[in-house]
Symmetry: C2
DNA sequence: ATTGTTTCTGACGAAGCGTCAGAAATAAGG
DNA sequence: CCTTATTTCTGACGCTTCGTCAGAAACAAT
């Protein structure tokens, strides 16, 4: 793998710096805060050089989004390896999702931007399908655990409901809640003192509704949450605590 | 109320035309598709005139968002008046939310943009608090129904959970799901054939998890959905069918 | 008819995007 | 080591959009 010339290494390294700076600019000032001129200036390269890496602003954003989803996918994979009953494993996914958004809010923010700015027209098909495949694999992990649960008799879905429908429910609950949390500073005024706890309870209650064993009345999922955090995601959890 | 000069009426009418065009431009090309120059050109006024109405692009977007939330608030109010047990009334809210997003996707899109583009810095405190108050009242309606349910013995929340937490769950479930539906065209590939139905089932299951009477096993909420659509929201439902 | 006020206009400066001819650096060949 | 070919880098350029503002035009009051 080390058959790269000095030049090629330089280029790769510069690309990382571009993405790193771009993410910060995006976090700072949203879509408009990210400026090609600004990148060139701050990195002390000419604009042309930046455009050698990325043909347009939108491609940078997509690249950031792919990085983001890769990172989460990694955490989901680690979570899925948690040894335990199916509902414990899905809880591990929940821990991963929450830790991810709390630890890397900038990453999550990129995903929100992707979903609203219409940047798709300008980007190549390749990047788009790369993103989709990340999304698919994330969903696949979750659906897989649900299927395992069904196979092991922990869960039985009613007619007309497939595991993907439930996975979609978890996904939208998380995405929606985390979006609202990130962009609304008046939740305490609305009477929601700890929205993250509220999300966990709501999701847990939905799974109870599907009668996924073991029910939250027979098991301390709050304690499991702590255990998974400190066992599976020790480093991440540490970081979060210290902030 | 009719003490307006011809001029003033002209101005009011023009403001509506600006907002109408702006919404279409926004729906067409996102944040970037909305251009002040474009508005001036298409409406055949000079830019200065447009800027007499709105001091910046962002204020237009906020105005659109307020329109949006007002409209939904209206539908929520009608839904809340539905006569029935508490869980039937919350179902009516669900119908309103779904009809709203399906009938007025442009309106919903504005809300998504608001939540990602960083437009808040440029806008006045007044508009912002106007939006918040809309949000609060929407939440208030939902929380109110939940409280009614508790008062009438249909529902009992576990310790540490307040009605607002449950309302937050419904809100985030809907917002997340509708966002994903609006911006992801690969849901069928993921195995989710009818995402709107999936949302309804997931929400219903969550309410079952809270043991909100009557449980979905004892009541045909699918049929209730149809009934509310055609009774409370006859016009809207009609429009939706014909599209 | 004259004066004062409101409303409208479009040229302007600033900033950002993406391009491209030519300069500079690097690699290859003798 | 010098020449030539190739790659990489540069920044001026054209274009679009934002938001401003001095002056023109329309309107109202006297």
């Amino acid at each position: 793998m080390e058959n790269l010339t000095r030049k090629q290494r330089e280029i790769k390294e510069r690309e990382d710096r571009i993405l790193d700076l771009a993410r910060r600019m995006l976090a700072e000032g949203g879509y408009l805060g990210l400026s090609m001129d600004g990148i060139a200036e701050q990195l002390e390269y000419s604009k042309g050089t930046i455009y050698n890496h990325f043909p347009c602003k939108e491609e940078i954003i997509i690249s950031l989004a792919v990085e983001t989803m890769d990172r989460r996918l990694g955490m989901f994979q680690r979570a899925a390896e948690f040894v335990g009953r199916s509902r414990e494993r899905i809880s591990a996914i929940g821990v991963a999702a929450e830790l991810f958004v709390r630890l890397y809010p900038h990453h999550f923010f990129v995903e929100q931007i992707i979903r609203s700015a219409s940047i798709w027209e300008k980007t190549t098909e390749k990047r788009r399908s790369l993103m989709q495949s990340c999304e698919h694999r994330c969903m696949g992990i979750v659906s897989g655990i649900i299927r395992d649960g069904i196979g092991q008799g922990d869960l039985k879905l009613p007619d007309g409901i497939v595991p993907e429908d439930v996975a979609f429910g978890l996904w939208s609950q998380c995405f929606g809640a985390y979006s609202i949390i990130a962009t609304s500073d008046s939740l305490p005024q609305l009477g929601i003192s700890d929205p993250f706890v509220a999300v966990r309870r709501n999701i847990s209650t939905m799974l109870d509704g599907y009668a996924w064993q073991q029910l939250s009345s027979d098991y301390d999922y709050q304690q499991l949450f702590e255990r998974i955090s400190s066992e599976v995601f020790a480093d991440e959890y540490q970081t979060l605590q210290s902030v």
